[in-house]
């Protein structure tokens, strides 16, 4: 057990050695930062024309961080699917998997280290977004001056780690989904395409079926996107989370239900991916 953990940690370290030398994660981080900072500065611009306590809270601390994390999550899911499928699929395309596994690297340990790295990278990206938002919020707050009169029910400091944790955890099912489809198809493009189509198609199907059949709400409460939205929205009704795709009509499951369902999705998809990865022959592609 300890040897396996040490092996996975070592593999994760060297996966990071490779990943940080690719341009893709840095471009994605830049996109995430630009989009998330837009949220702060657009709110700041709105505040200049129509001052309100709610808008002011959107670009000043601590409300800005919680709101930006919720906002960044929607785009983050899209980026995390692309990054996962790419980092795994290129190992098949470049045939580097042969070179890795031929030297005695355990198959499940290798796939686990890939997933672990992506989870850590997703968390690190959210941390960078948080830190950048904190800095830009301080600047925007200083430029805007005092808060307009009135009260706001925007998130408080205590909500920040909760939203951070929910945003981070909500990435996991999509990392697992992209991992599974990339291993299944042994292709970055196919892994990306299937995962993203699923991501968008699910929200459309759920919205349509919920309008047609009331019984579908029970089915929907076990679907991936629905539970991600439920988790992100739980207890944070005032946050700007409408960008999170996967919603629809009807009532959402509870946060605990969503957490458990998503955990099962993660375990099932990573488990299936590992099972496939271990038993499949690696022949010349």
């Amino acid at each position: 057990m300890t040897a396996n953990v040490a092996h996975i940690m070592n593999l994760t370290r060297w996966e990071w050695y490779k990943l940080r030398r690719r341009w893709m994660p840095w471009v994605m981080l830049a996109v995430l930062l630009v989009v998330s900072q837009l949220f702060v500065w657009v709110s700041y611009s709105i505040n200049r024309s129509e001052q309100s306590a709610d808008v002011y809270a959107n670009f000043t601390l601590p409300g800005s961080i919680a709101n930006v994390l919720g906002f960044a999550h929607g785009i983050g899911v899209f980026l995390v699917v692309i990054l996962t499928a790419s980092t795994l699929g290129t190992e098949y395309r470049w045939r580097t998997l042969h070179s890795i596994l031929a030297r005695g690297t355990g198959r499940w340990q290798y796939l686990a280290s890939k997933v672990l790295l992506l989870v850590l990278v997703a968390g690190a990206a959210l941390l960078v977004v948080t830190a950048t938002t904190a800095v830009s919020s301080l600047i925007a707050g200083a430029l805007a001056g005092d808060a307009p009169p009135g009260s706001s029910d925007s998130p408080q400091w205590i909500d920040v780690p909760v939203v951070f944790g929910k945003a981070w955890f909500s990435f996991l099912p999509y990392i697992a989904l992209a991992t599974f489809f990339t291993v299944l198809t042994t292709s970055s493009a196919a892994g990306m395409a299937i995962s993203l189509v699923y991501y968008y198609a699910e929200s459309i199907v759920v919205a349509i079926f919920l309008n047609l059949f009331t019984w579908f709400e029970t089915v929907a409460s076990y679907m991936l996107g629905r539970n991600v939205t439920a988790l992100m929205r739980s207890g944070e009704d005032t946050m700007v989370l409408n960008f999170v795709i996967g919603g629809g009509f009807g009532s959402f499951p509870s946060a605990l239900h969503a957490f458990l369902v998503l955990a099962v999705y993660v375990l099932a998809m990573v488990g299936l991916a590992i099972w496939l990865f271990r038993r499949r022959d690696l022949t010349g592609n």
């Binding site: 490779k18 580097t96 031929a102 038993r279």
Partner: protein, 310 residues
């Protein structure tokens, strides 16, 4: 038998209706260079892939460095370096960074080892260039450096001279011989007959996934030896020799007779002729070539290229 570093028993791989490797049993002793010789599609790469755990056998078992395929393969692979098919690297990393990565996941060695290996394969000057800028020959050299990471006891080299110019091929063959003398056992797969003949001590010949022959090259060729001789009466001598039960063929050419005869019985040939009053003027063993031997045992009398098996 010497200690075996690779031992397969009835190893079989089937892809649907295609039998890629059929009931293969080979023994590779420690030390020296062992050749897996066969035309393209004969099952060499599939065999190596099975030994390296990249492909699961349909049936059969094997042992690597004395360890069982199921329980000890991963541990054994830590002591094995390999190039299977063409070497594969990350195109956006330099040669040096690629080797550093693979060294990292193997968990043995340091930067100095990587630099030494790059120097050994003649890539020091391009160590910091991205692999995407390397020629096929340079990638092949980098592949050899990769295979040597961690000072393995056993090397699997699948067509290691592919893509190299003649000088590069000669260097790689010299390197393989050098590694062998330093105690590393090399399992070399090749379809180049002359390469195997130059570099290997022992060989397993594969054709359509089946083992045709295996053993020391010298023994295989000697077993099929012939003697060339001239006598005081070649016509009478041909009649005498062709009646000997252990002589398989007698031919006359350029004033000499050639008899297919087991090498250890060639002295009996002289005696038989002398007993019948025919004196032998000259007699010398004819060394068979691996190419001729290969064509005979595989039944392939029309190779597409001279010196190649396919």
């Amino acid at each position: 038998m010497d200690e075996l570093v690779v031992e397969t028993q009835a190893l079989t791989k089937r892809y649907g209706a295609v039998l890629a490797v059929d009931n293969l049993s080979i023994q590779v002793p420690r030390g020296g260079v062992f050749g897996l010789l066969g035309p393209n599609g004969s099952g060499k790469t599939t065999t190596m892939s099975m030994l390296l755990g990249l492909v699961s056998p349909t049936s059969g078992t094997f042992r690597l460095l004395g360890r069982d395929a199921n329980s000890g393969r991963q541990e054994a692979l830590h002591h094995i370096g390999a190039i299977v098919e063409s070497p594969a690297f990350y195109p956006y990393l330099s040669g040096l960074k690629n080797l550093r990565y693979f060294q990292g996941i193997i968990g043995r060695g340091d930067l100095a080892d990587v630099e030494r290996l790059l120097d050994l394969v003649g890539l020091s000057s391009r160590a910091h260039s991205k692999v995407s800028t390397y020629s096929q020959g340079m990638k092949q050299r980098l592949g050899i450096a990769y295979a040597l990471l961690g000072a393995p006891d056993l090397l699997f080299l699948d067509e290691p001279t592919n893509g190299l110019d003649p000088a590069g091929m000669a260097e790689v063959r010299e390197l393989i011989r050098q590694l062998s003398t330093e105690g590393c056992t090399v399992l070399l797969s090749s379809h180049l007959l002359h390469e195997v003949e130059q570099v290997c001590d022992r060989v397993a010949i594969l054709s359509r996934g089946r083992l045709i022959a295996q053993g020391a090259i010298r023994d295989l060729l000697r077993r099929r030896g012939a003697v060339r001789f001239s006598t005081t009466d070649d016509t009478k001598a041909a009649g005498i020799v062709s009646n000997l039960p252990w002589v398989t063929a007698v031919t006359a050419e350029d004033g000499y007779l050639t008899a297919q005869v087991p090498p250890e019985r060639s002295w009996e040939l002289s005696k038989a002729l002398a007993d019948e009053g025919v004196s032998v003027k000259e007699m010398a063993p004819v060394q068979d070539s691996l190419e001729r031997y290969f064509l005979e045992v595989t039944g392939d009398d029309n190779p597409s290229a001279q010196g190649e098996t396919s």
